[in-house]
């Protein structure tokens, strides 16, 4: 496993996003609360940290970046490609937490190339952090169409069960709703579909051919084939990758890294959200949760500082300064103290002699 330090990771992500032609989008930490109140289901947690501004307006510390980027999307033509690296504030189950997030958004005239580009970038972003990764993709539009014999609440319930790979209960619900044997078999096969992207087109054609819209299925199969060719078995098609169908309309994906117990990256196409916020075109993007990467990140080194310079009480400040500068000129990170602190670690310890000389 290639381990990066926090600064290396941040630099690597920014470098990668910029080299891919994405512009940095810097935003304020605050947003009007109304934006979140109207789109609570899009947020990972409904709880939002709010406060009243000096003019009486209710503001929130951003729990999400995507909504703000869409809200501020003004382009009347073409496609906008942006990346961000921001903190968001979410309920972590036991109070609010500041979470560092980096990601990309592609808005406007999103074509099939742009979809492949974003998916490819998601896989490459995972690969920047560790060689043992997996990107799982599925298609909510296809899944939703496959579940069309069910009414909306039942459909939402079955999609949730797809997410839990709970095949037994999916079968129960399909039976309770009188879904025909043929359709039931197709849906159950789809729920179990979990294979390398390159193998997915054939399997999807076998399961869904003639049952869901040919064009949509074909586009998804083409994307799977491209990703399969580029990333081998690291990109898989797994229909347990799901989200809220009122926001996500097409491809949806999650990224996993060995050594981290949760998905560290999530994204998808959220064309419906664009429509809801009265914006033109389509949108696809992903976010990586940098706080979850802690188990894979090395601290900046074994030591707090490369060197400690300890000076005696009677030493002259000018001598101390010049000794410290001498050490720093060797490229060392140097802490200067009149004593040796017990709670810190140093690569080397130097003492300042009476004549201002360094004793190593």
């Amino acid at each position: 496993m290639s381990l990066l330090s926090q600064p290396e990771l941040r630099a690597a992500l920014r470098g990668f996003f910029e080299s891919s032609g994405y512009r940095r989008y810097k935003m304020s930490k605050f947003e009007e609360y109304d934006l979140y109140a109207g789109n609570k289901n899009f947020l990972m947690s409904e709880k939002v940290l709010t406060f009243t501004d000096t003019d009486g307006k209710l503001l929130a510390l951003k729990p999400d970046v995507t909504l703000s980027i869409i809200k501020n999307f003004r382009q009347t033509e073409g496609v906008e490609k942006l990346y961000y690296h921001e903190s968001v504030y979410r309920d972590g189950g036991h109070g609010f937490r500041e979470i560092e997030q980096a990601g990309v958004e592609c808005l406007g005239d999103v074509d099939e190339y742009a979809v492949c580009e974003v998916l490819s970038m998601a896989a490459q972003t995972l690969g920047l952090i560790g060689p043992r990764y997996e990107l799982d993709i599925s298609h909510l539009g296809i899944l939703s169409e496959a579940l069309s014999p069910l009414d909306d609440p039942e459909k939402a319930r079955v999609i949730e069960l797809f997410g839990g790979k709970n095949f037994g209960e999916i079968e129960n619900i399909l039976e309770q709703n009188g879904v025909s044997e043929d359709v039931k078999a197709r849906i159950l096969q789809l729920s179990r579909l979990d294979c390398p992207a390159a193998e997915a087109p054939k399997q999807l054609q076998d399961i869904l051919g003639g049952y869901v819209s040919w064009e949509r299925l074909q586009l998804f199969c083409d994307t799977c084939e491209i990703l399969g060719r580029k990333f081998g078995s690291k990109v898989r098609v797994d229909f347990s990758t799901v989200g809220d169908i009122s926001y996500y309309s097409g491809i949806i994906f999650r990224g996993y890294l060995s050594g981290v117990p949760q998905s560290v990256l999530s994204g998808g196409q959220y064309d419906q959200l664009m429509t809801k916020l009265q914006k033109r075109g389509r949108a696809i993007g992903f976010a990586m949760y940098l706080d979850l990467l802690e188990p894979l990140i090395i601290s900046s080194g074994e030591f707090d500082f490369d060197a400690l310079l300890v000076y005696p009480e009677e030493a002259k400040p000018a001598d101390i300064l010049s000794a410290a500068e001498k050490l720093r000129s060797r490229g060392l990170k140097v802490s200067v103290m009149p004593y040796e602190p017990a709670d810190m670690r140093f690569g080397e310890i130097y003492r300042l002699g009476k004549d201002g000389d360094l004793i190593g």
């Binding site: 043992r132 839990g164 996993y256 981290v260 117990p261």
Partner: protein, 212 residues
């Protein structure tokens, strides 16, 4: 050698039955049968490592990835909604989540219904469906005592045979859902150990079928 799969088992009677099922499926661990002071038990050849945890904590161990798989009751999964895969109904620990009340109970819709329970989310969700105004009284044990002493009007709790309710002059007034033990898996762990986890799932399924 393939990676070891970490398995969280629920302490107690259910856990023992669950372990027997794993043992029958080919994942016996002699260390676990003579535990001594050890807390984790490994069978390298079978590629499994077990540890016992409080039944209500199994889902947490699995969600956080300390355990790759575990066996937890459906009651816990519905109450805490952990982000895990629910791979198999192992068919053990069958019971029901019920609303129970004293035999003389008649719901008075003019008053807030006082509900004593360990399963606060489950109870809230159930009554939210009907719009019934309730006050939740969170208890950690001896739930049956609450309506007897007038602490609550009803209870929401697990009912296995109904014997405890009967002894306390309580009766089931509504069944919320059936409960049984489920094999659950950490989503990331499943990605990187899927072959072994699916093998365990398949072997457990065979044991379950043979028991029918």
């Amino acid at each position: 050698m393939a990676e070891t799969v970490n398995i969280a088992l629920p302490k107690g009677r259910l856990g023992e039955k669950v372990y027997e099922m794993f043992a029958s499926a080919g994942y016996r661990c002699p260390e676990l049968e003579n535990p001594g002071r050890k807390l984790t038990f490994e069978n390298r050849e079978a590629g499994v490592r077990y540890f016992w945890v409080k039944p209500s904590d199994v889902a947490i161990y699995v969600e956080k990835g300390v355990a790759d798989i575990g066996v937890a009751g459906k009651d816990i999964l519905l109450e805490y909604r952990p982000d895990v895969y629910e791979l198999l109904d192992v068919g053990l620990g069958k019971c029901r989540m019920c609303v129970a009340a004293p035999k003389s109970f008649k719901d008075d819709y003019r008053k807030t219904l006082r509900v004593a329970t360990k399963f606060t989310s489950t109870a809230k969700e159930h009554y939210a469906k009907t719009g019934r105004e309730i006050e939740i009284i969170k208890l950690n044990g001896s739930i049956e005592l609450a309506p007897i002493l007038g602490l609550s009007d009803v209870i929401v709790d697990i009912v296995e045979t109904g014997a405890t309710l009967k002894q306390n002059d309580l009766t089931v007034v509504d069944t919320l859902f059936d409960i049984s033990a489920r094999l659950i898996a950490n989503k990331a762990g499943y990605r990187f150990k899927s072959e072994k986890i699916n093998e365990i799932k398949k072997n457990l399924e065979t044991v379950k079928e043979n028991r029918k």
